[in-house]
Assembly symmetry: C2
Homo-oligomer: 114 residues x 2
Amino acid sequence: MEQEPCHRAAPPHTHPRQVPIRTALTALADPVRLLIVRELAGSADWTRSCGSLRVPVGKAALSHHFSVLRTAGLVEQRDEGAKRLNRLRRAEFEERFPGLLDLVLRAEDDAGDG
Amino acid sequence: MEQEPCHRAAPPHTHPRQVPIRTALTALADPVRLLIVRELAGSADWTRSCGSLRVPVGKAALSHHFSVLRTAGLVEQRDEGAKRLNRLRRAEFEERFPGLLDLVLRAEDDAGDG
């Protein structure tokens, strides 16, 4: 089976409670990462592999974006066989930054976005 | 009287209701702009000139940061004599992005920030 695009060594994670607000804002201020967050928000935990996400970037870029999302406490990843599965850390992130994720997810169709 | 560091032609403004979430997040994800926003949040409207802000950047950089803040619907400016005075658009921004500004202002002393 082909290796998944974000599959490398076991990835380091940062818990949202250790994330500075600036890191969280920067992570969410990118169109590709917003796409990833929104796709994960619309899927059950651990059901989406990195390769299943519809994002218009190559493997190296995708790997970078997932690294940023893990560092911002937004995404948790675990390997299952050849796949790297994902979970949006919705509850923990909400506890750390109340309302921020909802704001971002709600804003999909807002004025001038895109 | 010496010209204020952010004083040029009458500045263009963007109302928060026309601001995409990504623009708002990017504007707030910068340490210097966070300093400006926090200083303005702690001052009455129209009492702070650009030159009165304690930010560790030169005139050109400060002018750029104020441009970003106006475009994100965060700051309103008007000229009074030789001074350019500022106001944080707290109510309008809050209406557009509920909770976001409070989150940022509250996070001043948070884990690992800086």
